[in-house]
Symmetry: C2
Subunit: 521 residues, 2 copies
């Protein structure tokens, strides 16, 4: 079916805007009709084909072109949905919240403007992928590591803006961001931090500049289009030693998490370490049918077989040590001693692994910032190949870990899915990321997933757990769980939105924020 | 003389507002006439007595009272200047930019709402001083360290909001902030991050929450009044070893800085270390008259005497090691080896120091987060006791360090002051903080200082160095140095200001941001 026009925009206005966009970027870089498929949600959850459908896409090549596009969009009231690379398939890919929105595709702006080895930073445009930045650094032989999320095809800028995480000591991507260039919804361009000083020499070195520190308002928001961003890079450490610690029992997650907290808070665990569930890990190297051909989640007996076969536990803690060998030795002793008394615990370094294709060998690359797509193997676990991420934030306590696990896994299994989850250990919180892999071609399964997801959000919120990030379909729902004092924070977001974007041009509905022209009462 | 009314506010309106304030907080907590002295700039630079004078002060005891005060201020158009403790004397104390502004004194809101040892954080109100937080932790015997700036009487909240720094590994105070409660200029109250979720369990554990990360816009701004803030605290490390490395020659600053960069970027230097100048350090334990009774800055021969007497260098690098002994040993070897070939270098641990009252013994306390007022001894260096901080940001390079030093010290000496400066080493930048100590009772010296300061700002900006923070008197001037793209960033600040504070009630002129009612063309 044809893509719907955005609410309140006439066919004439859209057509005029697209003509003007074509004059700005060239007709080859405006996409409509059969050419917009790449901008649709690759794993649509909705069974209503009119939802989350872009009308068109436009791909600028420079900040100036972004400014011109934004001005035209204001003139014709055409909404824009900026995506850096649009590769975050678990959260909707390049597709907009509101149907008819024109995707502002930043892929062509993929210049690596600077990589500074002395200070450890890069200045990049939003179209730069982790693969591209990594390759650039390798080609120049720079002694720098990047930090990557699981799929390496995503945008360095986009991931940081969406509060994404990775697995080296630089795993909190937004915390490592330093200095932005942003096109505002009125077409003006600002540089943040020290970038606001003409001729400055510290745009990528000092975040705060002078006056309000505004960078955060351009993350997970629709207040501007980031066209350049600085990101701090880690100097190649003197040593690197990835490890895997496996735990046999489901309930071990409680003790493991309780032991993890002091190690993380004290910096003994240096990186964005993860505790991963058996099926997620098995799915990196195997498919479900190799172990089980029944319906629904795998039974415990099969889990035992998988654990023995793959040298995995019910829970698998992937971490790494960084630094001079005596530092790594000291930290490792503390880590090993913290877990040594848990019955059935096993400790592995890469040389201890039996299989050539293996969880630790795979994570060993990721934890040193080598971009890959390996993690996506889990999509083949049970066929069908759609997936969505459910990502509530929790304190790092045993009590919360087991409660989270029980709440989520029981619901997921009740709906016939395998539990594939991980606890990503942040500075002082856990991101409990559950990946639900479903058959995206089956309308019944989509419907079931949608029902499940809504239940998960509501049940989490009732216990004080909130999502840190979500699929376009659930942005409004999750915003409503952040409702303290009669939604005061979202009302403030709306006030800022209206001031910066009076015509509601930019990304309607992003993070549950709507312009005043489309706001529901 | 009587304090002037704020521009555009009638005596009647002010009087009505003060009556209403008294009804909210009690008459004892509204200060006028002779009771407002504590809110005036303790080290006035201006010779015009009508400048930077508060008309009154009001001290609320709760978030609700702050909300009511803000609503009344809107009703009568009375501007408010919020201060946490108002103790940052080098930058204006509690005094407002605009004369007649009513100080909103948050000192009474000094509750320590929670200190969590397991996770390492505190939730505090803005009136809580470093001394109070430290004492609380000591009394309860909690294994936590705080991070303090030089004077311990300041506000934990206020310092973080002003992008202040300290000297432990948690020295970037704003980076350690997690979760705020903020009264907006319209009287509404928001909680940021996870605080926006009712019943959440991670307000002080995870910063970003969901949607735009807004905390930064309440720092160095006039967009809201922060009434609660979370701050991460460092677990007591397994070991601590402060050290001092002295360098004999003025020019050594170039080599020292060049060697520091890789150590800091790689995390070998773990803390907010500082390279300090001779006179600043001598002034901690001595006065100028003990060495020199001539006019103007001390001559080189006297500097030599001071160095020999006090076991100091022309530059003194104060750092510390934290962690298990093998970790400290490894890092120390790397640090020592980096500086060992500099002629005249000397390495000291506390047990190597001759004098009982000593720079390293003093900094050893500060680098483990013990709040003090010792650093203020420098005020007595030359009598007169006023001081102001000039604080441009620079890359961590030898070239920039020596250039900065030459630019600033030559001007400072030209104007007859001693150079008392330090380079505070941030993640990837230097804060070059120069303290200018002057006779606050002498109108000529004030005039000279004012002239000098303006020159320093302009000369720094011409070379791309911008201040990270400043005295109330220079807020406009420094804002104007951040003028990229026709002041685009400040125009954006004004847009947000007008949306959140349409009546321009809050802190007119803070960081060079004015409400639309008082904005100059």
């Amino acid at each position: 079916m044809a893509a719907p026009l955005p609410e309140g925009v006439s066919a004439e206005a859209m057509s005029s805007a697209l003509d003007r966009f074509a004059r700005i970027v060239g007709a080859d870089w405006v996409f409509t009709e059969d050419k917009i498929t790449p901008y649709e949600d690759p794993y649509t959850i909705s069974n209503d084909e009119t939802e989350h459908r872009p009308y068109a896409a436009v791909a600028p090549a420079s900040t100036e072109e972004v400014q011109e596009i934004v001005r035209v969009a204001n003139e014709f009231g055409v909404p824009l949905w900026p995506v850096s690379r649009g590769k975050n398939f678990a959260y909707g890919g390049a597709a907009p919240v509101m149907s008819g929105t024109v995707v502002l595709d930043m892929n062509r702006m993929n210049r690596i403007l600077e990589v500074n080895e002395e200070f450890g930073y890069a200045l990049v445009e939003p179209g730069v992928s982790y693969f591209e930045l990594y390759d650039y650094i390798q080609e120049k032989g720079l002694k720098l590591w990047i930090d990557v999320p699981d799929p390496g095809w995503g945008s360095v800028v986009g991931n940081a803006l969406d509060h994404g995480i990775g697995y080296t000591p630089y795993g909190d991507h937004f915390a490592m961001q330093c200095g932005m260039e942003v096109v505002l919804p009125n077409g003006e361009v600002v540089r943040t931090g020290m970038g606001a000083m003409p001729g400055n020499n510290t745009w990528q070195l000092f975040k705060y500049g002078y006056g309000p520190y505004v960078d955060g308002i351009f993350s997970q928001s629709n207040f501007g289009v980031v066209t350049k961003m600085g990101i701090w890079l880690m100097p190649e450490p003197a040593g690197y030693r990835p490890y895997l610690i496996t735990f046999e029992n489901e309930d071990d997650i409680e003790t493991v998490t309780e032991r993890l907290r002091p190690l993380k808070v004290a910096g003994v665990i240096q990186n964005g370490a993860t505790v991963r569930s058996l099926v997620l890990d098995a799915a990196i190297t195997r498919t479900k049918s190799q172990y089980y051909d029944g319906d629904g989640p795998i039974p415990p007996s099969v889990a035992k077989t998988m654990m023995a076969d793959l040298d995995l536990g019910m829970w698998n803690f992937c971490g790494a040590l960084y630094g001079p060998p005596p530092v790594m030795d000291t930290l490792w002793t503390a880590i090993r001693d913290s877990f040594a008394d848990i019955p059935g615990v096993k400790f592995y370094f890469p040389e201890d692994r039996r299989h050539k294709v293996d969880l630790l060998l795979h994570r060993a690359e990721t934890m040193k910032g080598v971009p890959k797509l390996t993690e996506f193997n889990f999509l083949n676990w049970d066929g069908g190949g759609g997936h969505v991420g459910f990502s509530p934030v929790s304190p790092i306590t045993g009590k919360d870990a087991i409660k989270q696990y029980n709440m989520v896994s029981s619901r997921v299994r009740e709906y016939g899915f395998d539990y594939m989850g991980l606890l990503a250990i942040g500075w002082r919180d856990l991101h409990h990321v559950t990946v639900i892999v479903y058959d995206k071609t089956d309308p019944d399964e989509r419907k079931k997933l949608d029902e499940l997801f809504n239940i998960l959000v509501d049940e989490a919120a009732a216990e004080g757990y909130g999502e840190y990030r979500t699929h376009i379909r659930y942005m409004d729902r999750i915003a409503k769980t952040y409702s303290w004092n009669d939604n005061a924070l979202w009302k403030m977001h709306e006030t800022i939105k209206d001031a910066l974007d009076p015509n509601g041009i930019l990304a309607p509905g992003k993070s549950g924020i709507w312009g005043k022209n489309r706001r529901k009462a």
